[in-house]
Amino acid sequence: MSGTFVGMPAFPVAAKEAVGNPTLRGNLRHATHTIRAKRAKAVEEVSDWAELREAGKRIKDHTLRHLDRYLVQLEESVRAAGGTVHWAADADEANRIVTRLVQETGESEVVKVKSMATQEIGLNEALEAAGIRAYETDLAELIVQLGKDRPSHILVPAIHRNRGEIRDIFRAEMSEWGRPAPDGLTDTPAELAEAARLHLREKFLRAKVGVSGANFMVAETGTLVVVESEGNGRMCLTLPETLISVVGIEKTVPTWRDLEVFLQTLPRSSTAERMNPYTSTWTGTTDGDGPRVFHLVLLDNGRTDTLADEVGRQALRCIRCSACLNVCPVYERAGGHAYGSVYPGPIGAILSPQLRGTGSEIDASLPYASSLCGACYEVCPVAIDIPEVLVHLRERVVQGGPVVREGNRVVLKPAKGHAAERAAMRAAGWAFGRPGALRAGQRVASRSRRWHPRTLPGPGRAWSGTRELPAVPAEPFRDWWQRTQDGKGDAK
């Protein structure tokens, strides 16, 4: 169960706290609205967006359907290109493998490219325990690491921090980790970025080991792809002698050509750019250019369990663009930390409880961290029906049933204390079983604010009677929480 933020309260409690923090809310609101508007423009520019989205969905589904075959092919291609492939069934195993590989180089520090997978498994902490220091080199990750903080957004992990806070963190903490912040550092973004450049350059130039994730792995050729903006990725991927990449098995795509879809949809969906400033691809090792040793660690850690769920498996299509976070009214108010995992927002609400199971309070509460407005589905470049999976997971939490955990079939007991939700779930199930009613009740909400139905027709009424259907925060999240949860979070 690594990857859970230790001692994390359930989503509603954590969210309530976040909602009461005006700086956080202000920062988040500004950020998500800015990216959202820009993204819409970037998508409009591409006349075949719908077709790209459909192709992206199909490529990923096809890959997942033949994942065993493509993983074996990927392994062969990487080997043929001079890399070594390792398999890790869970976080502990992945951490052990990476720790051993670093130890074998004789080094005691590594530079890291921002990677969700290594955060998910808690690699930095595991390395630390073995006396190895891992330096995050993405500016936002650096801010998070220096601030002894947690990431709150997939793409801009320090989105909850404003410039003043960042300056204070740099001034106070940089000297602990290496080159101190320049004297008289102000809070202008340019100066802050320059301070980070100087601080990190020292590390890049001496680094012998780099650790990364990857956005894509091509089975046919063994090529790995990292998409980024700052150039810290390029530094970590090309300057060290040894490169270790930890990648979730679902990042596989079958062919080189498939990248033509994702290299169009990913940048536009995530940073609203035609193309991100830097993309690096590498296939094993190349003589005289870049690392001489390359290790790929293929990570399961709950992904095969997710694959076993016929409704939930679509979450594995995710390309981590973060578009769903930026349109989510719940994320906007609650902030990324409330989700208690490295995957915040709507995708986190369906991915974390599947990767980790719904055993903990926070994971059992995540499927409820949504208004089911459908905005996340609308923007998702691989068309993951997040509301569908949310309802499915709610049902699982409430009613229990068969699931796969660590490769074994187990039967989940119905959750206690969710009796009130049970009736609601039946209603939701009814709505989802009738596409017409569902469309009327939800999807339309994200498109036509004016005509929002206040309640679902038929048996859905009981459910929508206690929940606000619209995407739009007609009712503040705070009130929603107070009303639906009886203010139970007040204890804090």
């Binding site: 950020a31 077709e51 398999w87 801009v156 090309t238 691809t281 399961d300």
Partner: protein
């Protein structure tokens, strides 16, 4: 049981209910967006490069050495890194000390160099992207990364493609590739865009016509 067998076994069990149809994925999307003439494609490239704050210059083959000299002089660059296969005539007019990239040069040595001049594998008009593939006129990935100033020469129109799909068709995945769209940038601080966090702060792209003795 090895972890490899364990993971693959889990995948196979997870997919037990799934029909393994092998129909090829339908690709209803476009190979390029809009029909542009060759000249229009070059224009679009220039526009999109500039939109990402690359500095765009144009020259013919004869003017190229003078332009490179001028750009280096404007920066006051004393030392210039060049890949082993850069056409010698490109640098014919430049007086700064030329440093040839060698496998043994350390990142620290590269860090002392101010500018780098390279060619490219191709450029993508629709996205304003140049792609380097480590060819002889581009060199190792690190040389276009560590110095603060990168001058990249694109032969137009031969090296210009319209779109990402066309680019992938022409690139060799077995080579290490670097796609560059504008200079290094971050928006991590309150979403204010700041250029040059780690890669070159200045990217200058020269669109050169009439090469290859035309």
């Amino acid at each position: 049981m090895s972890s490899r067998e364990r993971v693959l076994g889990r995948v196979r069990r997870a997919l037990a209910d799934v029909p393994r149809d092998d129909a090829p994925v339908e690709r209803g999307y476009l190979r390029e967006h809009g029909a542009r003439s060759v000249a229009e494609n070059v224009e679009l490239l220039a526009e999109n490069l500039a939109d990402y704050r690359a500095l765009v210059h144009r020259a013919n083959a004869e003017e190229l050495p003078m332009l490179i000299m001028r750009l280096l002089a404007e920066r006051g660059s004393q030392q210039v890194l060049v890949p082993p296969g850069l056409p010698p005539e490109w640098m014919a007019a430049a007086d700064p000390v030329r440093i040839h990239d060698r496998a043994v040069s350390t990142p620290h040595e590269l860090d002392k160099v101010e500018s780098v001049v390279t060619g490219c594998a191709l450029a993508i008009a629709e996205t304003g992207t140049i792609v380097l593939d480590g060819g002889p006129d581009q060199g190792r990935r690190r040389i276009t990364l560590v110095p603060d100033h990168h001058i990249c020469v694109v032969r137009v129109p031969d090296q210009v493609v319209s779109s990402v799909p066309q680019a992938l068709e022409r690139l060799d995945p077995l080579r290490p590739l670097t796609w560059i769209s504008g200079p290094s940038a971050t928006s991590d601080i309150e979403l204010d865009r700041v250029e040059g966090v780690h890669g070159p702060r200045t990217l200058e792209v020269i669109l050169v016509t009439g090469h290859d003795g035309e």
